[in-house]
């Protein structure tokens, strides 16, 4: 039987992680902690032992292609379904139901009652989390005003566009001022402008101390918003931790353009350097850039351009989850999140 032994976030010290960030994380209690979560549906393993640690006030991304187990994991954290194995602690309670009024949840499948007015829909969602109906109505109107949707407060949901209805549902998720907000694929179906507004809203929530966990198959959103991510592939979490650490797992990539196609300088390139078009690509050697530069100059390579690029989260995802998972991710969202 798994059990919790730690109450605060203690990530393994990584050489590439700044000491200040380590200290900051160590001081933050965990909003969500999961150990060895397993879920089977009719004998099929949907989630195969997931560990998560989400610090309070963090924006935490759960990355993975469709079918990886993201939604099942979130549902287990919320108590919608019970794990077959493993334990979880949400806002200090092992039963998420014990803190249900402190949680806001936006499911992947959006839904509202079409016959309800926008502000009533928000109030209803608040009432489900214990907010008195009248107070929910007032807050609903205020939230709509704050999002420049005041004119839609009295409109029925069926009269709203899909994007507006989605915003109304998001406001319903937040109306009771939860301490933990879990959003399942919140950017799906939104246009670029509304994606930007949602990113702002998530940052504003985190600035107020609210913990935000969101799942996505669009790496760009996670890279822009999150300091911590969990990468889920095949029902497992091959990586959970800082975005920076994930990126630093891969050495910076060198891109080199030379005038000469061949010469003694070629011996200075690493063995795994690859030639694509006019450029050479290879990981930055452990000895650094200066010895390489010296060898290129002395070997008369004729350097036209040279750049050192730090690995992105996408590269880290490929390295961690494997090319198959990365390809699945790209096929699901070839253009989403490219703002």
């Amino acid at each position: 039987m798994l059990a919790f032994t730690r109450a605060v976030y203690r990530r393994p010290v990584d050489a590439a992680l700044g000491q200040a960030e380590i200290n900051r994380n160590l001081a933050r209690p965990l909003a969500v902690e999961a150990r060895g979560l397993v879920k089977r549906f009719d004998g099929t393993l949907a989630v195969a032992g997931i560990d998560l640690e989400v610090p309070e006030g963090a924006i935490y991304g759960v990355l993975g292609p469709n079918g990886a187990g993201k939604t099942t994991t979130l549902r287990m954290l919320l108590g919608i379904i019970e794990p077959d194995e493993g334990v979880r602690r949400v806002l200090g309670h092992e039963r998420p139901q014990d803190v249900a009024r402190l949680i806001g949840y936006l499911p992947e499948e959006r839904g509202l009652y079409p016959s309800m007015k926008a502000y009533e829909a928000i109030a209803f969602m608040g009432a489900l989390r214990g907010l008195p109906l009248e107070e929910g109505r007032e807050r609903g109107r205020a939230l709509l005003e704050a999002q420049d949707l005041g004119y839609a407060a009295q409109r029925h949901i069926r009269q709203l566009s899909k994007g507006m209805a989605q915003q109304v549902q998001l406001l319903g998720t937040l109306v009771h001022e939860p301490k933990l907000v879990i959003l399942d694929e919140p950017f799906a179906g939104l246009d670029a402008i509304n994606q930007g507004k949602l990113e702002q809203l998530i940052r504003a929530l985190a600035a107020k101390g609210t913990t935000v966990i969101f799942s996505t198959h669009v790496i760009a959103h996670a890279e822009r918003l999150c300091e911590n991510v969990a990468i889920i592939a095949g029902g497992k979490v091959p990586y959970a931790g800082s975005v920076e650490v994930a990126r630093d797992r891969i050495p910076p990539q060198v891109r080199l353009e030379t005038r000469e196609g061949d010469g003694p300088w070629r011996a200075a390139l690493p063995a795994d350097a690859r030639h694509e078009g006019a450029f050479w690509y290879f990981p930055l050697p452990e000895s650094g850039i200066e010895p390489l530069l010296r060898a290129l100059i002395e070997g008369e390579a004729g350097i036209l351009s040279l750049s050192i690029e730090r690995a992105g989260l996408h590269d880290a995802f490929v390295a961690i989850a494997g090319t198959a998972a990365a390809r699945a991710l790209e096929q699901e969202s070839p253009v989403e999140g490219q703002r």
Partner: protein, 425 residues
């Protein structure tokens, strides 16, 4: 947030109230409520029309004549005797017509006359009043043999027989009529309860379909217990039914009070002389409310379970048909149990949770004993809780799945469901 502020999810009844309030308002201000209000009229109108048409068809097809083929004096005597007896015996006498006045020595073949299949002649009387011969099918011959004998005896009498005048003394009821009346009360109550329950359970399932179609169910499941969703929906529809009944009662009272409708002929029966149910009217009405509630909760929870575990709206609609059929069978079984008071059929109907409310309401109509109702209500309440808990549990186990699903075994039933059109959601 301080510890004084509750953090856990809403208690069951509070959460159920949130759902009930939403559903109640939503249904009350929708066009479906109008259909619900008018709903009881449909079976009444259809039933009345069907009964009227059936009666006319029956009248048209069963008004058969008994024809007389005798000597002229005998024909006249038979017709006269018939006319004299009609005021006393009325519809119990067949309609007598003259077919042929036979000349002396003339023979007549009644079988040939009947095989010609002309007109409405169903039987032929030949011979003489002293020796009448009735030619008809065996069924009709047995039916009219006595009546023809009576007419023939009167036809032979030289003078009109002096029938004594029978004085009558009326009583409002008798042991036999009381028993029959109570059975009628039970049948009427069961039918009314069945119709209203069918309407309500259909509507309660449609609200769940609405939730599935609008994909709200996961928001509810994340925030409150599924039991609360079930209880809330059942409670909302119960409130809607109470509003509907109140509207009907007010409308009928208004008709009586303002339009001067005579309550004694309301619905074609004398409301002042309704047979008193076994447990008396006040208790019977109270038990009727209790058993209606139990029946609605039990059957409604079964329908909700079906609605919640079905993967698609199409599946819900497909599965609701056999569920409704099963409901009709249960109603018939409970009605049949009326004919077997205290017997195995009644006991089985009382024990089976789906027919128990029907059987117990029928029992309250015909039998005086009160104590069996207490354990029966407890038994039914237990099943309400079991059905709702079971339904909520099934919902969590079977519905809240995501990601790739394993290949399902395709049994004949699954195939039948899967062959429907694509899910419209």
């Amino acid at each position: 947030m301080t510890d004084a502020v509750p953090k856990s999810r809403l208690p069951l009844w509070q959460a159920a109230w949130v759902i009930a309030r939403r559903d109640f308002v939503s249904i009350l201000f929708s066009r479906y409520f109008i259909f619900f209000l008018l709903g009881p009229l449909f079976p009444l109108v259809v039933g009345t029309l069907a009964a009227g048409i059936g009666q006319r068809v029956q009248d048209a097809t069963t008004q058969n004549d008994v024809a007389v083929a005798m000597a002229p004096a005998d024909v006249d005597a038979m017709l006269r005797a018939h006319d004299e007896l009609v005021p006393m015996l009325g519809p119990n006498l067949p309609h007598l017509v003259a077919l042929k006045r036979l000349s002396p020595g003339e023979t007549f073949d009644p079988k040939a006359a009947l095989s010609g299949r002309k007109g409405d002649i169903a039987a032929v009387v030949t011979g003489t009043p002293a020796h009448p011969v009735l030619t008809a099918t065996a069924e009709r011959a047995g039916q009219w043999q006595g009546a023809i004998a009576l007419i023939a005896a009167n036809a032979m009498a030289k003078t009109n027989p002096a029938y004594p005048v029978v004085e009558t003394a009326s009583v409002t009821t008798s042991g036999a009529s009381e028993r029959v009346g109570r059975v009628h009360t039970a049948q009427a109550s069961l039918t009314l309860m069945f119709i209203v329950t069918v309407f309500l359970t259909g509507m309660v399932m449609s609200t769940l379909i609405e939730e599935k179609a609008n994909k709200i169910i996961e928001i509810l499941a994340a925030a409150i217990p599924m039991d609360a969703v079930f209880f809330g929906k059942l409670f909302a529809m119960f409130l809607v039914s109470m509003v509907g009944i109140a509207v009907w009662v007010t409308a009928i009272a208004g008709l009586i009070g303002f339009a001067g409708l005579n309550p004694t002929v309301l619905g074609g029966f004398d409301v002042h002389n309704l047979p008193t149910p076994g447990v008396g009217w006040p208790l019977y009405l109270g038990l009727a409310v209790v058993y209606f509630t139990m029946n609605y909760l039990i059957i409604g929870s079964v329908f909700l379970t079906i609605g919640s575990i079905a993967a698609t709206v199409r599946e819900v609609q497909t599965l609701s048909m056999p569920a409704t059929m099963a409901q009709i069978v249960v109603f018939f079984v409970a009605t049949l149990a009326l004919a077997d008071p205290g017997g195995p059929m009644e006991l089985a109907a009382i024990a089976f949770p789906l027919s128990s409310p029907y059987a117990m309401l029928a029992r309250a109509a015909v039998q005086e004993s009160l104590w069996p109702h207490l354990p029966a209500i407890g038994w039914q309440a237990l099943w309400v809780v079991l059905f709702i808990r079971g339904g909520a549990s099934l919902f969590r186990k079977r519905v809240m799945k995501s990601g790739p699903q394993p290949a399902k075994r395709k049994g004949p039933f699954r195939r039948a469901v899967a062959q429907g059109a694509p899910d419209p959601v």
